[in-house]
């Protein structure tokens, strides 16, 4: 079974170094099979969804990312270019790369509340004897049903849901 409560896998770098002026630090998972540049892109998107990054925040400087992860500078440039193409960041000449848009739909305090109620559900599922894979399967299935039901009710074209359809 999994580790005990709160036993996350958050590793602290031996140096405990925090890049000056940047809200996040990148990490690499060499075994994931995900290309390195894409890992960086996904970490920024993930941090945006969870509210760790918000518009105006500066991403770590290319040279700092290169020096802390020992990766090719062109890989970092490619990731930053991709984020810019997606409209999530903007480069300011001579200054660096800054967050321009947000992916998180709710504010951080609200997110904390949602996370707490989800933790409660996880504890209940654990108590009922569900293991990690079981929880993932149940959550994914419920999520799928939720969106299918929602789409179903919309495409049936009930007059009540008409106004949400207006956005195209």
């Amino acid at each position: 079974m999994g580790s005990g409560p709160g036993g996350g896998d958050g590793k602290i770098a031996p140096s405990g170094r925090v890049a000056a002026g940047s809200a996040i630090e990148f990490r690499l998972d060499p075994g994931s099979g995900v290309p390195t540049y894409l890992q960086l892109v996904q970490q920024v998107e993930h941090a945006l969804r969870l509210g760790y990054l918000k518009p105006g925040d500066q991403l770590p400087k290319v040279r700092d990312v290169v020096a802390s992860l020992a990766i090719n500078p062109n890989t970092v440039l490619k990731a930053y270019k991709e984020l810019e193409t997606k409209g999530l960041t903007a480069g300011r000449p001579g200054q660096g790369t800054f967050i321009q848009a947000t992916l998180s739909q709710v504010a951080l305090p609200e997110l904390t509340g949602l996370r707490r109620s989800l933790s409660g559900w996880l504890a209940a599922a654990d108590g009922a004897g569900l293991d990690r894979d079981g929880m993932v399967a149940l959550f994914s299935s419920a999520l799928r049903d939720f969106y299918e039901r929602r789409r179903g009710s919309r495409t049936r074209g009930s007059p009540a849901s008409g106004e949400t359809e207006g956005v195209a």
Binding site: V62, V66, A70, N72, P73
Partner: protein, 302 residues
């Protein structure tokens, strides 16, 4: 601009050609990995590029057409030989002094700051330093010369994982500052993270050369029924791994090429690609006639 360009380059020791008919054009602005089995000619090629050896045939130029070994070439290239050689009896400060006096451009302040950052006292004798510190000292002296091209021969072979990470971090930070890097390496696993240009040498010849991104985009792993594997003998197949029922073919094909019915296509990683070519010395992936532009490649010769 090409940082290293060779044509018909060869080096003979006695009756053996350590390097033969080598045609390369390594563009500036890359971290280039030079890989290949022992005795493939990696060190020979590096020695020719930095001017430590004279060609037996052909020519090699550096930094956009400067003859290798000429004063202008020596001025713009820094070389760290295998096992990061330093004078064991000299202190870090003495090494800095000597290197500074032997070079007309030497950034003493950079070298001192860097050694302080690394926690290497100037009074410390090189022979008393750890392998990682000796390597960092050699690298610091090389970078203090402010080269445009940094050449490293098996720089991390003898280092433990942390020393290796820190050493490569310094090299890649220099690359981020605009220094082109050419390094030979045995450590395939780290290659994909570090290098964006690849040269594979085999038996003194260039077997694969190109930008890593282009090479990966031009190869796919096809998995399907073993009985049908031979049907694709006419396709540019680099390497075949065959079980009783299933076979895996590494083929020269991009995402735009159709996948045969009943077969699955997967992207390949750099390590997988290099291993496949190492196992098939007869296959090659080289830049086409427009050498140096990087993107175009000729068909694989099987």
């Amino acid at each position: 601009m090409n940082v290293v360009e060779t044509s018909g380059l060869g080096k003979r020791y006695g009756r053996t050609w350590a390097l033969h008919e080598c045609a390369l054009a390594i563009p500036a602005g890359h971290v280039t990995a030079l890989v290949g089995p022992n005795g493939a000619g990696k060190t020979t090629l590096l020695n020719l590029a930095v001017g430590l050896a004279e060609p037996s045939a052909g020519a090699v130029t550096v930094l956009g057409g400067v003859p290798a070994g000429s004063p202008a070439a020596l001025d713009g290239i820094a070389f760290v030989a295998q096992d990061a050689p330093v004078y064991k009896n000299l202190s870090a400060g003495d090494m800095l002094h000597v290197t500074g006096n032997l070079n007309h451009r030497f950034d003493r302040a950079y070298a001192q700051d860097r050694l302080a950052e690394l926690g290497i006292p100037l009074k410390q004798k090189a022979g008393r330093m750890s392998g990682g510190q000796q390597a960092q000292l050699a690298l610091t002296l090389a970078l203090a010369r402010r080269p445009r091209l940094l050449v490293l021969d098996e720089p991390v072979a003898m280092l433990d994982p942390i020393a290796r990470h820190d050493f490569m971090a310094t090299v890649l930070a220099a690359a981020a500052d605009g220094v082109s890097v050419l390094l030979s390496s045995h450590v395939l696993a780290e290659l994909e993270r570090v290098a964006d240009y690849l040269i594979l040498l085999s038996k003194g010849r260039v077997q694969v050369a190109g930008q890593v991104e282009d090479l990966l985009a031009a190869h796919r792993m096809l998995s399907g029924p073993a009985g049908e594997a031979d049907r694709y003998a006419d396709r540019p197949v680099v390497h075949v791994r065959r079980g009783e029922a299933q076979a895996h073919l590494l083929v020269r094909a991009g995402a735009q090429n159709p996948v045969p019915d009943g077969w699955e296509a997967h992207p390949v990683g750099l390590e997988e690609l290099v291993l496949a070519y190492l196992r098939e010395p007869g296959a090659a992936a080289l830049p086409g006639p427009a050498r140096g532009r990087g993107a175009t490649m000729t068909e694989v010769a099987r």
